[in-house]
Amino acid sequence: MGKTLFEKIWDAHVVVEKENGPSLIYIDRHLVHEVTSPQAFDGLRMNNRRVRRPDLTIATMDHNVPTNDRSLPILDQTSAIQIKTLEKNCQEFGIQLFDINSPNQGIVHVIGPQLGITLPGSTIVCGDSHTSTHGAFGALAFGIGTSEVEHVLASQSLWLEKPKSFEIKVEGKRKNPHAVTAKDIILSIIKNIGTGGGTGTVIEYSGEGITDLSMEQRMTICNMSIEGGARAGLVAPDENTFEYLRGRKYTPKNYESLVEYWRENLKTDSDAKFDKTYTLHIDNIAPQVSWGTNPGMTCDVTESVPYPDEFAKGDQNQKKAAQNALEYMNLEAGTPITEIKIDRVFIGSCTNARLEDLIEASKIIKGQKVSEKVRAMVVPGSQMVKRQAEELGLDKIFTEANFEWREAGCSMCLGMNPDILSPGERCASTSNRNFEGRQGAGGRTHLVSPVMAAAAAIEGHFVDTRELDLD
């Protein structure tokens, strides 16, 4: 029987295999940031260990960096200490760091691909759950905890149990590809499979609805695999993938011969079997808006906030969860999504802060003004994205519309830096999690695409973006 792409990558990285037991898996790239690494470095020091492969380890600071003027000192002392600690650790252990003043600083999952560090067929880990993003390049990429970070630093390997394989086929063509985006596809998938639908699996996304997507859009899809409970998500590499990585800063010198190998080998065999499959048809899907407190609580923009009974379909815990969510979100069941008024807009995060996201959002913003009741900000995913956007004049389009134009970082996706919601504030956010308090204690998050976030900023409420002149 043939193998799936995931199994091929797994098999190629097995160092030690135990029958019916775990495998020791070799790690090709380890990405490190300031929040989940300090205890791991402390552990190395305590046990007198070195970093096994500093040349395969890359660090940046993204989670708690302020996104205002970089020439100003960092006011939050605990953040400043965490940032300083990463600098010291990288220096001591010989790890390349893109620090807060580096032109290559940015969200770790945005800079990896941009710098050509993310490669097809490789294993990539990072102490961050959204590491699944790199799967867009046909890599096996997943998030790990701090103990595992220490284990990889010390040994460049991890003991892992082999996950199951899950194929998600995305069939058909979107009628309004500018109004209905990759974010709407992945939110639809999570709405249908549930937040635990992918538990214990690695998802392979396939079908015309995926191969039609650009690399940046594929990253949005793979990024949110973890929100469906999966270990990782990946897409078989194709000519788009190879073209994206050609000629980047760290693209390997023997790139073309690698491409030949990848083209031949990095695909699922026609007779391979997945443990699980799901198919989504996207011909008629609508823009998506989350209404609750997990990413599965999502509906079409044309629908209304559901009644808990209708949402739960007989599951008591789901009913209770929906009731709690409505209370937390201060929403009444039956309210049309387009009547929900917002206070804030956040365009940013490792899900949706790449150049294409900003270009698509800017088309809606151009010549318009943000609603007087809304405060809106754009936080580019990396300093490189920021520069590229500025070269295209996007910063002017956003600032003339009264958007704030910020420096790169995770920012309001997780509320670790000063960019947070106040209690009760309602935000249209291009990020990945709408958990209670995620964007600040008491803050209310609606997950949407960059296009929807931009339209909501102008109108002050959600709109059916298909009715705008975008295509």
């Binding site: 775990p22 929040v35 905890g145 595992e148 635990g196 973890i226 997780l414 999690r433």
Partner: protein, 157 residues
């Protein structure tokens, strides 16, 4: 036993992002479950267990989540299922035991019940109600990491 009758308890409510800069574990513990249950810190006792539904610990990879629970006194979380990173984090640092249970234990155990867990026989005894439930056995690697006292003490055969 502290019971949260809900699914999808995420790491952002177990320990909100603003506290990921806190390195003192005792202080971290004072903010455990703050996003969901502000009374948690005052009611939790050394040796307590948490009981919850499906997909416990979903979300971020922050090891701060099991650390905050562990340093609050929580020795085990019993849940219908776990998110993978939380599950591994719990055993890798020997912070707490993630115990997968079936519906009988989920329905049968109430807040305040006294529980005894035997991971050798995979049995959960409810001393208050005099009931016994099965727990899902740990996989080989997880069992060995737990037995060793954490990932760094685990030595493969």
């Amino acid at each position: 036993m502290i019971k949260y009758e809900r699914d999808n308890i995420d790491t952002d409510v177990i320990i909100p992002g603003q506290y990921l800069k806190v390195h003192d574990y005792a202080e971290l513990a004072t903010h455990a479950m703050e996003g969901l249950d502000p009374d948690f810190h005052s009611k939790v006792k050394e040796g307590d267990f948490i009981l919850s539904g499906k997909n416990f610990g979903c979300g971020s990879s922050r090891e701060h989540a099991p650390i905050a629970l562990s340093h609050s006194g929580i020795k085990a979380v019993l849940a219908l299922s776990f998110a993978r990173i939380f599950y591994r984090n719990s055993v890798d640092g020997a912070f707490l035991l993630p115990i997968e249970i079936e519906d009988d234990a989920y329905q049968g155990i109430s807040e305040g019940d006294e529980i005894d867990i035997d991971i050798k026989s995979n049995q959960i005894k409810n001393l208050t109600k005099n009931q016994t439930y099965k727990m899902k056995p740990f996989s080989e690697i997880i069992g060995k990491i737990i037995e060793a006292g954490g990932l760094f003490k685990y030595k493969p055969d």
